[in-house]
């Protein structure tokens, strides 16, 4: 299974779309938002707030990109080829989940490093560590949603569905524009999105607060929903592949 993870990671790292959209875009957007004064308010506050937003946004992009890859793999006959090797289907699914989870790390690290080195964000070692962990672990629900789409839909449709879902979650979740600027009704919705809960965990940490139980609960709820969805998608794909 390690061989499978290695192969999938090699493929991910050579994927131009992954590098551009998953790693480079959030870094560039972070620099643009914070240094062109678009974020408004206190510059230091913005540097921290947008750093978390963009790290979350990049991680979301990578997590969904991994799911889109599944649909392409199925169409390329790769899933069938894997079924003809001694690997079990559990190993294959687990391998893909691990690839997705590892694949979000460069994006998170790139944005946080930009924050520390370029925008001079200073936080305690504990804060940095907690944020990396929260941003990292929090991508699992999104990975599962992306995988579910990947298993259930065909290549191009899955790719588009994933990009659309990712952008919707990013925007409604307040990763691009803080929810404070939203009309009340939209803010109510935002508070129930997994993306907002996901980023809120790290926003709290970044500003020295304790993450709220509510955010953890909302994210855990979505984890269960998306996990069931991914499982349903995989079972369906298994029947037709």
């Amino acid at each position: 299974m390690l061989g499978y993870i290695r192969l999938e990671l090699i493929r991910t790292m050579r994927d131009g779309g992954y590098i551009v959209f998953g790693v480079a875009t959030p870094v560039v957007m972070y620099l643009v938002f914070t240094n062109l004064g678009l974020a408004g308010g206190d510059k230091h506050h913005a540097a921290i707030f947008v750093m978390v937003s963009m790290a979350a946004y990049g991680a979301l992009g990578c997590a969904f990109n991994n799911g889109s890859g599944i649909a392409e793999d199925r169409e390329a006959g790769w899933l069938r080829q894997l079924r003809l090797t001694p690997l079990t289907s559990l190993q294959v699914v687990a391998g893909k989940v691990v690839t997705g989870v590892v694949g979000v790390v460069p994006s998170i690290v790139a944005v946080l490093l930009t924050g520390a080195l370029v925008n001079h964000v200073t936080l305690s070692a504990g804060q940095w560590l907690s944020m990396v962990c929260l941003l990292w672990a929090g991508t699992v629900p999104f990975s599962l949603l992306g995988l579910g789409n990947g298993y259930r839909l065909t290549g191009q449709t899955a790719g588009m569905a994933n990009i659309a879902t990712m952008l919707t979650l990013a925007i409604v979740g307040g990763l691009w524009v803080p929810v404070d600027g939203f009309p009340t009704w939209l803010r109510r919705i935002a508070e129930w999105t997994p993306s907002n809960s996901y980023a809120s965990l790290s926003w709290h940490v970044a500003f020295g607060q304790t993450p709220a139980v509510r955010e953890v609960a909302v994210l855990a709820g979505w984890l269960a929903v998306f996990g069931a969805y991914a499982l349903y998608g995989y079972r369906r794909a298994g029947r037709t592949a």
Partner: protein, 290 residues
């Protein structure tokens, strides 16, 4: 390996119909049949990709999934398996690594005649090269049974020739090989044994020489006008076909047929064409005969 009374239907279509087939170790067997004969479904059932409606599959004393998991089987499906952004060596090494005791990757690359492509990206290969990479994936783990579904279907003549050269290298090592094809000459030239499948059933099974002997019919053609159906009753004639004023008689005893034609005074522009596997195949899979 063996299939025992395997049946698989897709809606109203019986893709595989009570098919029984056993292959001893070390044999190279061609599964020959026209498109839609049930070859791919048979192979799918054999590999555990397609669950049969009824019947039993046994590979090395286990079910297909178990045999695959134990690394006894290597397979090359009809298409697919070439993923972008990896090199030939990375891909073949990965497949080899999923097996417990694979042969050295260099050896596999050499056998599949792709050593010179090792560093190339898989998605930038020609059809023939890609096919040999897929072949390499089937043998990368050093399996005891290699199953190839229409390995040469999309290849040009030259690529096919190269492919079969690789295959012969594999056969000479004692690996059991099952391949499907609708190219008659491939079955004829490459296999120890030819199993002809039509409409999901085995209609003939033997060496290509045996298949020809049993069913291949010599074609006796003459020019004739008017009522010609009586020609079908001549000795040896099994099948009659009329194109324009030519009558083609497929005969199991061409000597007797020609003698009878001569006695009847019907020898005009006589032409006798010996059987090839194509004829045998036609005879086996057409409804009118056998």
């Amino acid at each position: 390996m063996s299939l025992e009374s395997v049946t698989k239907t897709f809606g109203p279509v019986r893709a595989v119909d009570d098919l029984t087939l056993a292959i001893p170790r070390g044999q190279t067997v061609a599964l020959l049949g026209p498109n839609g004969a049930g070859k791919s479904t048979t192979i799918g059932v054999l590999l555990g990709l397609v669950p049969p409606d009824s019947g039993r599959v046994s590979l090395f004393g286990a079910g297909p999934e178990q045999a695959v998991r134990r690394g006894r089987v290597g397979a090359m499906p009809q298409e697919g398996g070439l993923i972008p952004r990896v090199t030939v060596r990375e891909l073949v090494s990965f497949v080899a690594g999923t097996y417990a005791a694979p042969p050295p990757v260099d050896q596999t690359l050499e056998l599949a005649r792709i050593s010179d492509l090792a560093g190339r990206r898989v998605d930038k290969l020609s059809g023939g090269q890609g096919q040999r990479v897929r072949f390499a994936m089937a043998l990368a783990g050093g399996p005891d049974l290699v199953v190839l579904d229409e390995p040469t279907a999309a290849l040009d003549v030259e690529a096919r020739r190269e492919f079969w050269q690789s295959m012969r290298g594999l056969a000479s090592r004692g690996t059991t090989i099952l391949f499907s094809t609708h190219y008659l000459e491939e079955a004829d030239e490459q296999a120890d044994r030819v199993v002809v499948v039509d409409r999901g059933r085995v209609v003939a099974d033997g060496s290509s020489a045996e298949i020809k002997r049993v069913v291949a019919l010599t074609t006796v053609s003459v020019t004739a006008q008017g009522e010609v159906q009586w020609l079908a009753t001549l000795p040896g004639v099994r099948h009659l076909e009329v194109t324009g004023d030519r009558v083609h008689l497929r005969s199991g005893d061409p000597d007797a047929t020609v003698m009878a034609l001569a006695e009847a005074g019907a020898v005009r522009d006589l032409e006798v064409t010996p059987a090839d596997l194509e004829d045998a195949f036609m005879a086996l899979t057409s409804k009118e005969t056998v």
